[in-house]
């Protein structure tokens, strides 16, 4: 009984949503949107659960003096600071408990929440994102190591595409006669990206779609129950 009700809900809702994809008449045409709105409402309530988890885990680390516990303390301080200044003076056009904070805004140039968001948060995010450049370089180095047929193929293709995307490719192969135009590196690069690469990606997307269909069907029919925490 504990499992049957959720399974029944999953079946009924699944069938209705599936049907709504093919029935454009009311009320079917608004079912998906309604369910999404419900999900957002439920998610809003669940946010508190996330915040409690965040505080609890960090406090536990600090109390146990775990390794680098200072960072967990910094996390809590940052969390508290943003919550407090957000509640007091609001953010952007929204008012806080103490109003719009005109005086402090005049000093900082913006509200405290916005000031920290723009000058600390955004730059920290950009810093993390910029790591990609270095990680791509290290990953490419390993990927291009010649050790098998696939590696050779990958290396050759990668070199062609890399050179073809820069002016170096044009310079290296610009002397080729017209009848060998297809070997011009930019042209060859476009061919690789338009045909083999697109074909492979579409194949993956098609197989993923089939996987989604199968997985969804198993969930709707109650065959797949792992998401409920148990297979039985």
């Amino acid at each position: 009984m504990k499992k049957n009700i959720p399974l029944l809900f999953a079946f009924v809702v699944g069938i209705i949503v599936l049907a709504s994809e093919f029935i454009p008449h009311r009320p079917f045409n608004s079912i998906t949107e309604t369910l999404q709105n419900w999900f957002m409402i439920i998610s809003g309530f669940a946010i508190l659960l996330g915040q409690i988890s965040l505080v609890r885990v960090n406090v536990s680390k600090i109390r146990n003096r775990s390794r680098d516990w200072q960072f967990y303390l910094a996390c809590l301080i940052s969390f508290a600071l943003m919550v407090i200044i957000g509640l007091l003076w609001g953010k952007q056009e929204a008012r806080g408990i103490l109003g719009q904070g005109a005086a402090i805004t005049a000093n900082l140039g913006s509200k405290p929440f916005d000031y920290l968001f723009d000058n600390v948060y955004i730059h920290l995010s950009a810093t993390m994102f910029s790591l990609l450049a270095f990680f791509i370089a290290s990953a490419a180095y390993r990927a291009f190591i010649i050790r098998s047929f696939e590696s050779n193929l990958l290396m050759i293709t990668g070199v062609i595409v890399i050179l073809g995307r820069t002016s170096m490719g044009s310079m290296l192969t610009g002397w080729l006669p017209a009848r060998l135009h297809f070997l011009h590196l930019p042209v060859l690069t476009d061919f690789i990206m338009q045909y083999p690469n697109s074909a492979a990606q579409r194949a993956i997307m098609i197989s993923a779609a089939l996987g989604i269909l199968g997985s969804s069907l198993r969930i709707i029919l109650g065959i797949e129950r792992s998401y409920l925490g148990s297979d039985k």
Binding site: L18, E21, F22, I23, P24, H25, N29, Q36, F39, I42, S43, A46, I47, L48, L49, G50, Q51, S53, L54, R56, V57, D68, F71, L124, S125, M128, F129, L131, L132, F135, S138, A139, A140, R142, A143, Q201, A203, I204, M205, I206, S207, A208, L210, G211, I212, L213, G214, S215, S216, L217, R218, I219, I223, E224, S226, Y227, L228, G229, S230, D231
Partner: protein
């Protein structure tokens, strides 16, 4: 739908009458000036009366009928759709070199929305509100003669009860679903089905074994999407099996989550897995914890966990975007055995390069069925193979039809947009 002409007759006729009236008024004025009537103000009234009589005479005696333009302008609802389109059709006689379609704005003023030059044609108006009346006016011009002709019509887009443009999708859905159900029932009856090996999933035992031997934790990241993403659901089904094994072997498990809903679901999954393994006391709520909902903050947090906790095995399963390589490379640098899987085609190359095993495409969604060893679930995987075969056949058939110059096959599968 009604068809009416503005002013009850073509505008050109009204203009002709107006021109004749103006001519008559001018004639009366000239006569009055010649006889000197205008010198006396009291005779101004007489002049006005004469002008009015002139107008009445013009209206009383109809002008000779010209070759009046004729035509039709109709509005039809596009059938079997979502009630957001109307089809405008017009058929005018020759003699016009410019047409425009107008519709009233919020103030009721007609605004031009389409210019055309075909005497006969049609046009679909899209993105409309269902079950509401829409009025359109068609105005035709002849630049050389100055003739104008206008027709107006009203129509209402109606919601259909079946989306005919998606018929091909429905057929595909029924075929593949039928195949999946067939193989499920076949497996239930005991028929043995061949399932190809998925090395990425077979390696899970190896990864858990390594973590157990080293006494280090297992890190599981269920992607960066919320619970509404099917990839997250697939990741949670894998987490169930992984947590069960981790509980059996007394191996620590770390599951950072980006969204609260995922946190809630993941906790339930892990808790149930530990109970199923007979180790309820080993379950700790802080195994599964909320990190942050910011994308790169989430990545930074996980990187920190990998560097500090040095997990022996990392699992990145679910939906990933730009952060995939940052996670995978950090895990690689710590020496962990890594398994990744996502349906995002653009991120797979990064995982392939940096991880030991990668689940590609449908393998992510097949994982739970594969790991369960349940014949009934394994049977559903055969449906995937049927779907692939069906797609291959359709692609080959489509190629053949295109080469032969036959387009109805492609049109049928493209559907109405």
């Amino acid at each position: 739908m009604t068809l009416t002409a503005v002013f009850g007759k073509p505008i050109s006729h009204v203009a002709q009458h107006a021109d004749a009236a103006e001519t008559m008024i001018a004639f009366v004025n000239r006569i009055c000036r010649r006889i000197g009537i205008l010198r006396y103000k009291k005779y101004e009234v007489i002049m006005r009366i004469c002008s009015l009589l002139a107008i009445l005479m013009v209206l009383a005696f109809p002008l000779p009928a010209l070759d009046a333009p004729s035509g039709t302008f109709t509005i039809e609802d596009v059938p079997w759709d979502n009630g957001m389109k109307l089809l405008l059709k017009w058929n005018l006689s020759a003699g016009f070199d410019s047409l425009q379609i107008l519709t009233p704005d919020s103030l009721g003023v007609f605004q031009s929305i389409q210019i055309d030059n075909r005497s006969t044609g049609d046009q679909i108006m899209a993105n409309l509100e269902p079950n509401q009346d829409y009025t359109y006016r068609l105005e035709a011009y002849n630049r050389s003669t100055g003739e104008r002709y206008a027709l107006q019509a009203t129509g209402k887009p109606l919601e259909g009860w079946f989306y005919l443009g998606k018929l091909s999708y429905l057929i595909m859905l029924l075929l593949i679903s039928g195949a999946i159900l067939y193989y499920i029932f076949s497996a239930r009856r005991g028929k043995e089905l061949f399932i190809r090996r998925i090395s990425g999933l077979d390696s899970m035992e190896e990864a858990i074994g390594r973590a157990t031997e080293k006494g280090k934790p297992i890190l599981f990241v269920p992607g960066i999407s919320d619970l509404e993403d099917i990839q997250t659901i697939a990741a949670l089904t894998i987490l169930s099996h992984l947590a069960y094994r981790a509980a059996e072997y007394d191996t620590s498990l770390i599951v950072p989550c980006r969204f609260s809903m995922v946190l809630s679901a993941a906790r339930e999954v892990v808790r149930e897995a530990y109970m199923k393994a007979g180790k309820p006391d080993a379950y700790r709520e802080d195994m599964v914890f909320y990190l942050t909902d910011d994308q790169f903050g989430f990545v930074a947090g996980i990187d920190g966990i990998m560097v500090r906790e040095q997990p022996a095995a990392n699992f990145f399963l679910g939906s990933f975007y730009a952060e995939s390589l940052i996670l995978a490379e950090t895990g690689f640098s710590t020496g962990a055995i890594q398994t990744a899987g996502t349906a995002q085609a653009h991120q797979l190359p990064f995982f392939v390069v940096s991880c030991d095993y990668t689940l590609i495409g449908e393998e992510l969604f097949a994982a739970s069925a594969y790991l369960s060893k349940d014949p009934q679930q394994l049977g559903s995987l055969k449906g995937h193979d049927f779907g692939k075969l069906l797609v291959i056949l359709l692609i080959l058939t489509g190629i053949g039809f295109e080469i032969a110059g036959i387009s109805w096959f492609r049109t049928f599968f493209e559907g109405v947009r």
